[in-house]
């Protein structure tokens, strides 16, 4: 037992979580006693500290910090022979692992778990909205449900799932044996379940879960019950996770490309993640700051946002949106990368205007930082700033348009295989164009003044994030599933999944445009009876939309266990990840690839993207056991 408790794993994690909690508790109670304050045991302040110390205890126990602690303490660090690489059984996915392929799958599976949590929350409050009046949820719970829905979908699904897909695919694509900082990579992943569990735990807090929206506007969030503290801390863990991953991607892309792979020979997915990581590194500290200010307001009485004490709640919105608008691009640029890979591969055509595609990504990164106040056109801020923000926001349609037109250009005179990933990609273009059009509309100040904070906005961002980002995620999963698991997904089920999702997505979110224009505000537990018919339709469609994803779950589980074995390159793609076995060998490339040309030279006679030469003698001596990983899945 003593050995189990000393070596990293779940037993030690359980113990050190308790120790962390006890330490936090003791710290607060001790300090309060020392200063002789009235209430020595005060729940809110204890919780604020324990929510930080207990997860840190967990992360230590599970083994995220072991190597660093050994090194920092001057104790002998174990020789990193990478023997922990790869997953030999399903249990390995529940351990700290530094293999980017294992981490990629940990990420994707964990984030999809939170996707279903978020989806169930949404269906619960949609059930409440079937009719006007109160059905079975009180107003406090209703507010908690939509707040948690958004928080789960954004912080524990949409942002990290792209990090997961890229974690798996990106090092393979650029010919790297792993990410630049594998231990940091593992830590980034383990932050994520911590964030998700904290948000789930907030439902048990006195006063219920956080109920101030994912935007947590002050001063409402300053005064909200304890669940708000859970949110403010969870965002720190999720934010730290994305910043660490982004740094990892940037360094990996800059320093670990295979010989011969210049920036202009990188696949679009690498470009997209490069652009996204720039956004994450620059923007995420702002939301961390905004939530720390809320936390300090609540725990320490800082009065950052209390007007009576000289605080300014409009400032909260500026700081918050300075992250949260770029976050929209964080949640869609990696998807753009996926779509470029999928369309080029399945239309068997070079990307149309490759350089413009890369430049438009960078243009979106730069412009993305100059538009945040378009979320505040009706807020109590200076009037003049609305006009420049309107123009910069509308301008983003230009590079985005370039991307859409270039994808269409990529299909022109191609040899199109309408396989399931391609269907999702084309579904994405259609839906995302609609979301983009309503995006230009809400950028227009006078129109936005009417629809701001109505269901029109809800419709708009679901077209962008579900019809947009979510469709790219499905496209990516259907595209790379054979590479990740060595099995093919079932085509027929994939097509059913696509069409049912496509139809019920539109039935759920399409009518929201109409009720928004007619005057239905968002985030309300009850609404005027004139909107009853549309709301009933939207609710039932949302249940069907939820059910349609079960087809996907079934398909993934059955195909992973007993699907048709995948060849190394089932789509005959040219990028490097398809030139090795499915799933890839433990160290990705038994032979170091040399890149000699562009990644999408379909139809160019004799063109090659990468060639494999024999490894250096030294590396050959240490060559590990190849392939066969995860064969007992």
């Amino acid at each position: 037992m003593a050995v189990t408790l000393r070596s990293p794993g779940w037993y030690r994690a359980a113990l050190s979580t308790l120790i962390g909690a006890a330490f936090g508790c003791g710290l607060v109670v001790g300090l309060r006693a020392l200063f002789g304050w009235d209430e020595i045991v005060q729940a809110e302040s204890i919780v604020s500290v324990v929510l930080i110390t207990a997860p840190l205890g967990f992360l230590y126990g599970i083994g995220c910090f072991d190597y660093w602690i050994h090194w920092a303490a001057g104790r002998p660090t174990y020789v990193d022979d990478h023997s922990d690489h790869g997953a030999r059984s399903w249990k390995d996915y529940f351990r700290v692992n530094t293999d980017h392929k294992v981490i990629g799958i940990q990420y994707v599976v964990t984030t999809f778990f939170f996707f279903f949590v978020g989806g169930l929350l949404a269906m619960t409050f949609r059930a409440e909205l079937i009719e006007p009046g109160r059905q079975f949820i009180d107003a406090q719970t209703f507010n908690a449900l939509f707040s948690a829905h958004a928080a789960f979908m954004i912080f524990t699904f949409m942002v990290p799932v792209f990090a997961g897909i890229a974690n798996y695919v990106l090092p393979l694509m650029i010919g790297a044996p792993d990410m630049a900082f594998p231990r940091l990579n593992a830590l980034s992943f383990w932050f994520l379940p911590v964030a998700g569990v904290l948000m789930m735990a907030s439902f048990l807090a006195p006063g219920g879960a956080f109920a101030t929206g994912w935007t947590a506007y002050a001063p409402l969030s300053d005064q909200a019950p304890m669940g708000q503290t859970f949110f403010a801390v969870a965002v720190q863990f999720a934010g730290a996770s994305s910043i660490a991953t982004a740094i990892n991607f940037l360094v990996t892309i800059v320093t670990m490309r295979a010989p011969g792979m210049t920036f202009w020979r990188m696949p679009m997915l690498a470009w997209a993640n490069f652009a996204t990581s720039l956004l994450v590194v620059l923007a995420t500290p702002f939301i961390a700051g905004s939530q720390f200010m809320i936390l300090f307001d609540r725990a320490l009485g800082m009065n950052f946002f209390d007007a009576v004490q000289g605080g300014d709640s409009v400032m909260y919105q500026h700081v918050f949106w300075f992250y949260s608008h770029p976050a929209v691009y964080i949640m869609v640029l990696p998807g753009f990368g996926i779509i470029s890979e999928v369309i080029s591969t399945h239309a068997r055509k070079p990307i149309f205007g490759y350089r413009m595609m890369a430049f438009s990504l960078l243009a979106i990164v730069v412009l993305g930082f100059s538009v945040w106040a378009h979320h505040m056109f009706v807020a109590s801020m200076q009037d003049w700033i609305r006009i420049p923000m309107m123009f910069t926001t509308m301008l983003i349609a230009v590079p985005t348009g370039v991307k859409i037109f270039s994808w269409l250009g990529t299909m022109w005179r191609g040899a199109i295989h309408l396989r399931v990933p391609m269907m999702w990609a084309l579904g994405f273009i259609t839906m995302f164009v609609l979301g983009g059009i309503s995006g230009v509309m809400v950028a227009v100040v006078p129109f936005d003044i009417h629809v701001s904070d109505t269901y029109f906005i809800v419709a708009h961002f679901h077209y962008v994030l579900f019809g947009g980002s979510m469709f790219t995620i499905f496209a990516g999963i259907y595209h790379w599933f054979p590479k990740m698991t060595g099995r093919m997904l079932n085509d027929t089920l994939g097509k059913w999944h696509f069409w049912l999702t496509f139809i019920f997505f539109n039935l759920t979110f399409g009518p929201m445009h109409l009720v928004g224009l007619e005057g239905m505000p968002r985030r309300v537990a009850d609404y005027a009876s004139e909107f009853a018919a549309w709301n009933a339709i939207m609710s039932f469609a949302s249940f069907a939309l939820g059910l349609s994803t079960l087809i996907f779950v079934y398909n993934v589980i059955v195909s992973w266990r007993s699907g048709k074995p995948a060849e190394s390159n089932p789509w005959r793609a040219q990028t490097l990840e398809w030139q090795i076995s499915s799933p890839p060998p433990i160290f990705n490339f038994d032979e170091v690839p040399t890149v000699v040309g562009h990644p999408y030279e379909y139809g160019v006679p004799g063109a090659r993207h990468g060639i494999f030469k024999h490894p250096e003698p030294l590396a050959a001596a240490k060559a590990p056991v190849p392939a066969g990983v995860g064969d007992d899945d």
């Binding site: 807020a379 309107m390 859409i404 199109i416 084309l426």
Partner: protein
């Protein structure tokens, strides 16, 4: 591709674009138009939609065309590739330049519309609007140069065709004052006063909706805007000043506790048969049997004692926003009605 197919495709694109644009202009998208600005904003929406439709139709049509024309079929060799076209600078310039131009023109036009909608009018009636969890308070400051000095927390009654200038702020969290019929809204933030201007052109009763999540009672924070003829408004004003219907705390009749309960939105959270309160967010007041002192404490400092099983979410601002007389009247009313 056959020429007849090409013509059919072009016809389909044109017909569907024309149909969708016609539909955009014919369909009734919005609530009643209350102000001249309402029409301008509706027109802007229709213009934006009409400009967007051809883009959308062309994109979808192009995709469908590619799928029909360039899809591989079983007779193709298994390793068939597309043509190695890498791009075209001319086409790329066009699809960067044309949207840029369209966007700039739309932006400039929208700017002009915004200026017109928000233009200041001469001699407006100035009304201070103060949001509070979960009601709106109105203070009629002046009409042109004439001082008014009337306060109410029930319906917002205004004369038709009179330019109005609202000065919006909040006592507690952020609210947003939205009149859908005027197509205008503005946040109410404590410590900041922001203006909102419009001139109602039609008499009638219109919604006022809070659109910024302001807490547990957010969805109950709705009000009425009553636009009446000038003569009716003058009558209403007189009644307010003499302390009749409004319940504004005047020495004459004394404030009416039931009226205060209703106009402050208490019934949104508390069940009380005597004043038609039906809410369930807070504890029911029917048969609560609280003493006057307990009631007073629960209103002024609601966090002091929390009824079992209920969240600590009642606004703490009523102690500030109600006058002493109003508070006394409310406590007296509740003590009797809730026995």
């Amino acid at each position: 591709m056959k020429a007849s197919h090409r013509i059919a495709g072009i016809v389909a694109v044109v017909v569907s674009s024309v149909f969708l644009i016609a539909f955009t202009y014919a369909y009734d998208w919005f609530p009643t138009q209350l102000t001249p600005g309402s029409g301008k904003i509706d027109g802007l929406y229709k213009l934006l939609t009409a400009v967007s439709i051809p883009f959308f139709v062309l994109i979808v049509a192009f995709m469908v065309f590619c799928l029909v024309e360039f899809r591989v079929d079983p007779s193709d060799p298994p390793d068939k590739d597309g043509e190695p076209i890498h791009g075209s600078t001319r086409i790329e310039l066009i699809w960067t330049g044309v949207p840029l131009l369209v966007i700039l023109l739309l932006g400039i036009y929208s700017w002009v519309v915004l200026d017109k909608v928000e233009a200041k009018q001469k001699n407006p009636m100035v009304i201070n609007v103060t949001g509070q969890q979960y009601i709106w308070n109105y203070e009629y400051v002046k009409n042109g140069s004439e001082k008014l000095g009337v306060k109410t927390s029930s319906d917002l009654v205004v004369p038709v065709n009179k330019p109005l200038e609202f000065r919006i702020t909040s006592l507690d969290v952020i609210h947003s004052f939205w009149v859908p019929a005027a197509r205008l809204k503005r946040d109410a933030t404590a410590g900041v006063v922001t203006p909102l201007r419009f001139t109602p052109e039609k008499t009638g009763s219109y919604d006022i909706v809070c659109t910024e999540l302001c807490g547990v009672g957010h969805s109950t924070m709705r009000g009425r805007l009553k636009v009446v003829s000038t003569a009716d408004w003058v009558k209403w004003l007189k009644a307010q000043k003499s302390g009749g219907a409004g319940g504004g705390g005047t020495p004459g009749g004394g404030p009416d506790g039931k009226q205060i309960f209703t106009s402050n939105g208490c019934g949104g959270c508390h069940k009380l048969a005597a004043a038609d309160g039906a809410g369930t967010t807070g504890p029911a007041l029917d048969g609560a049997g609280l003493s006057a002192d307990e009631l007073r404490e629960s209103i002024v400092d609601p966090g002091a004692k929390i009824a079992n099983g209920f969240p600590n979410v009642m606004p703490a601002t009523f102690g500030k926003s109600l006058s002493k007389e109003e508070l006394d009247a409310l406590v007296k009313f509740l003590a009797e009605a809730g026995k």
